[in-house]
Structure formats: structure tokens, C-alpha cells
Symmetry: C2
Subunit: 205 residues, 2 copies
DNA sequence: TTATTATGACTGACCAGTCAGTCATTTAAG
DNA sequence: CTTAAATGACTGACTGGTCAGTCATAATAA
């Protein structure tokens, strides 16, 4: 009845995206393995051919997030443009990732929960992801200050606020989908970067 | 064996704060009614004398949060000072609440999860809490613009970013307690408000 | 080409552990 | 003694994970 298997890796991918879809809908806590199996159109037992446990499914979702995040960061460290501009596109890229993968984004809240207390397994190392983000942003802020585009003295705290502005908009979108996430990227750039402009510099875009 | 208890309301409060403490430690999903009872120093069954269900405990935690939130908002609408200043103290007060009740703050992530999909019960109306916050901030932004302290045209999107900056810093603190939450209030004010200063106005403190 | 065997992806009934919620009984205040 | 709070053993439902068996396909033999 069931056609013989597909590529092992492809099947893993199918199950993972089914899982992400269901997690986004029902939340991780309320999602049974059977729900994931149903979404993927396979039997419950088959899920265990690709994933060792329910928690491993969430860990895989985290891995996917970390991957996207690494892409954004890697792209941002490409040289060439002034640091302020690279910073602006980093922010826009980060928001674009969220907007492009709404389901994965909706799972974020479960990822945060697992980051704080790791279910049965070891907690996800969410802290590192944010530390890297902050590090990259802080680095660009400092460079931009060196280049005279931002005021001197900017550093970690300002980076935390910039990263925070993105995550915080995400939270509000999660609670109220009426919030337009994509359009907010520009506002974040505008508010945060013009707030850090070098003294006497332009205050508007 | 057990001293007879009279004050129903005080007992409810004891249980709730015990619950918040355990939720903060283990997370809501991993917390059993028995854990809450143990933390409160009573028997499992006694919890049900004050709360109808496990979900009601989380709902009560949400109510407490909403209460704190309402306090902050109420205090912010007190007249007298220029809108920019009231805005700054609103931000500081919001952060202060988070810093003053770390356990309740740590439960936030479970509250967000319950806000999106309501477990067994109806989802918590988290959206309204944020809408009110945004509304209050947007209002103060507009007033401040009218008073000439901020540039004209500020509104909802900017309010979302300001509220987001706070929530986002909170997220980072949750994932990495090394982030100093209290000190960040000032940075949020500084970055966001100076970013919205009227053209030609001062850019630094 | 056709028959036979080997493979392993797939299935779903099953089990064992967990836990929310109940309630008969106990304790003690008034 | 009466009444209400407090208890914790108990129940019933639920679900993560297992595994013996199925069967489509691939491999090999004839």
C-alpha cells in the first residue's frame, strides 16, 4: 500500500517540516507524535525511523533556526560597504528570515522555553545564538563609530537593544498577528540607528 | 496534624506564588500539581480547594502580570511632566517591574505560549496587554511630538519598536541571565528616544 | 525473462509510566 | 458535636516509545 521509501534524508526533512507546521499550530507541548505523523502522512512508528525522540524533533527545529541565523550573520560580515549600511541590512535580513518562515518563527516561543529548561534532554543552547547576534551587531556598531557614522562609545548594551527591538517585535507579532512584521524592519533601523548617529549628524533618513 | 486554615484569599496567594516560583524554575509544561503543592508545603488535593485546575494557576499568573502592567500604565498617564519624560519613566517602570519580579518574568515565556494556543482552556488574552502598551506609548510619542520634543509623524510603528526593545531585552535576559536587565532601561530610553528627537534637537544626553 | 529470496521501510496494536483530578477519611476549630 | 479544611491514596485517561509482522521493491538465480 505504501510505496517503498524515499531518500532517508529527504524523508527526515519531510517529517521535520511537518513537525514544524504542527508545532506552529498547536505548540510543542500539545503536539503528539501521532499528530506529526498524521501531518506527514505516515504512521506513528515511522517517525522513530528518522528521529530518536519527540525532543529530538524540537532540537532539529532549533538546528534549522541556528542555520538560518548563521546565514544572516555570515552575509553581514561580507566586506565592502560602510558599517552602518551593513548593520541596516543585517537588521533587514534578520527580519526577512522571520517573515519568510512564519511557521519556524511561530515555534520560537517553544524554542525559548526549551532553551531555559531542556525538557528531558539537554537544554538548547539558545544563549549562544543571541550572543553571536549581539557580538556581530556590537562589532558593526563599533566599526560604524570608528567610521564616524555613529557616536563613539557604542557597544554591547546598544547591541542588546537593537537585537531586542527585533525579537520584541517578533513577540508582539506572535501575540497579535495584526502587527505587520516585515514593515517594522525599516522602523527598527530608523529608530535605532538614527538614535545612535554621531552628534551633529543627520537625524532623519 | 495540619493547622486549620481560615483566610481563603491568603492561602490562594501563597499557592499562587509557590506556583510562580516552580513555573519559573521548571517551566509550566514540566510542572506537576504535586510540585506546586510541595513548594507551598501542602497536600496535592489542597491546591484544588483554591484553584479549579492546573490551567487556572497559569491564568492566575497571567492576571498578576496584567495587574502589574496596568499599574505601570496607570502611573504613566499621570499628568504634569512633558510627554518625553513621562515616556522615559514609563519605559523605566516597565523594566523595573520585570527586574523586581524575576520569577513572574521567567514565567513570561509560558504565558506567551499559552497566549498563542490556550492549552485546554481559552487562550490568555496577551494580545490586549501588548495593544494597551503600544497604545499608551504611541499616545505619549504623539504628545511629545506635539510638544516639539520628538519629530512629527511618530506613531504605532515606532511604539511597537519601543515596546519591542523592552520585550526583546527580556528575551535575551531569559536566554542568558548574564544580560543585565536593569541597566538596559537607560539604554532603551537613550537609543529609542534620541532616535526620535525633533530634527536639530540634541542627540546625546 | 521469470521465479525466488533478501531487504528494510513501514505499520499500528500494545505496554508501561505519568499525572490531573476525585473523594472517603482524618483532623481540628468553634 | 458539628462543620469545614486538609489529606493523599486512588482512578482513569493519555501518550511516548516499542516491536513483531507486513509487503513493495531490489537482487539474484535459473
Amino acid at each position: 500500500m505504501a510505496p517503498k521509501r524515499v531518500d532517508r534524508e529527504a524523508r527526515r526533512e519531510e517529517i521535520l517540516s511537518a513537525a514544524v507546521r504542527v508545532f506552529a499550530r498547536r505548540g510543542f507541548a500539545a503536539t503528539r507524535i501521532e499528530d506529526v505523523a498524521a501531518e506527514a502522512g505516515i504512521a506513528k512508528g515511522s517517525v522513530y525511523l528518522s528521529f530518536g525522540s519527540r525532543d529530538e524533533l524540537l532540537a532539529a527545529a532549533f538546528a534549522r533556526l541556528a542555520e538560518r541565523s548563521a546565514d544572516v550573520l555570515a552575509h553581514a560580515s561580507a566586506q565592502g560597504a560602510p558599517a552602518v549600511e551593513r548593520l541596516a541590512s543585517l537588521v533587514r535580513a534578520a527580519v526577512a528570515v522571520l517573515a519568510d518562515e512564519p511557521d519556524l518563527t511561530r515555534v520560537m516561543v517553544d524554542l525559548w522555553a526549551a532553551g531555559r529548561h531542556g525538557g528531558a534532554a539537554a537544554p538548547l543552547d539558545m544563549a549562544s545564538v543571541y550572543r553571536e547576534y549581539r557580538g556581530a551587531v556590537a562589532d558593526l556598531l563599533r566599526r560604524a563609530a570608528d567610521e564616524g557614522d555613529l557616536r563613539p562609545g557604542v557597544g554591547e548594551p546598544e547591541a542588546t537593544v537593537v537585537v531586542g527591538a527585533i525579537e520584541g517585535c517578533l513577540v508582539q507579532w506572535l501575540m497579535d498577528p495584526g502587527v505587520r512584521l516585515d514593515g517594522l524592519a525599516g522602523t527598527v533601523v530608523e529608530v535605532c540607528l538614527s538614535g545612535l548617529r554621531a552628534e551633529g549628524g543627520p537625524t532623519g533618513p
